[in-house]
Symmetry: none
Subunit: 144 residues, 2 copies
């Protein structure tokens, strides 16, 4: 199963290769007809390849950076059976909010938040919210 990122990468690289071929053809053609200076062609090629270099490394460094810190593992969230709302609550807990404050922020009562928190604790198999944070960090389901 090809995910979105892979598809996008393939598309971008295909486009890139086509652009390069086109560029070479144009430069050759212009040169043959003598209506373009060699310096101009070289300058264009230089700029284009400079940007290609920048682009390649950007996507590569992103790939290197991502697994180390931030970035959320959505698979794990589903695996744990955490619902959307429960995950929202978990995020607010990680910001240090009390149940009451979370309720105000999400426009529900403290009771509701307590229910959610209780369910979160069960699903993460922990006893306290601080423990839940520790575990969530371990599982990389909350941003660092």
């Amino acid at each position: 199963m090809l995910n979105l990122r892979v598809k996008k990468t393939i598309f971008v690289f295909s486009a890139l290769i086509l652009a390069l071929l086109a560029l070479f053809q144009v430069s050759k053609y212009s040169y043959a007809r003598g209506n373009a200076s060699i310096e101009a062609i070289i300058a264009v090629v230089a700029v284009v390849f400079l940007f290609i270099g920048l682009y390649i490394n950007k996507s590569r460094s992103k790939k290197v950076v991502t697994p180390t810190n931030r970035a959320v593992n959505h698979g794990k969230i589903e695996e744990l059976g955490l619902s959307k709302r429960e995950y929202e609550v978990l995020l607010e807990i990680s910001k240090g909010l009390s149940n009451k404050e979370i309720g105000e922020k999400l426009f529900v009562t403290e009771s509701t938040i307590k229910t959610h928190v209780s369910n979160i604790l069960v699903k993460l198999d922990v006893k306290r919210r601080t423990q839940a944070l520790q575990k969530a960090k371990e599982l990389q389901i909350i941003p660092v």
Copy 2:
């Protein structure tokens, strides 16, 4: 005050500019004498600039990655007036332990831990232990 990094950057870019000028001169010269094909020149330029692009982005992405994560800022701890023991307790909190559990781990009573926690909260200027964790992360005084 120029630090090492800035000096290095200036040096690298100077060298880069010189190299470019040299490259242009060589290509012009070769072309004038007719002993180099235009395609070869373009290819060389392309490769060189591709690597330049790669290089620029490598140093840039390193700069982005490095300062973000782990490593404890000891200066901040002193600045906050956190005592050694208080900091120990803070670390245990970040592991998700209850006051009672922390007491057992550090061989003191829960009362003592409560006192420490209270002092920590005051010094970090927060109301709850979860908030303390959030703030401690911000200040980079606990490992991520």
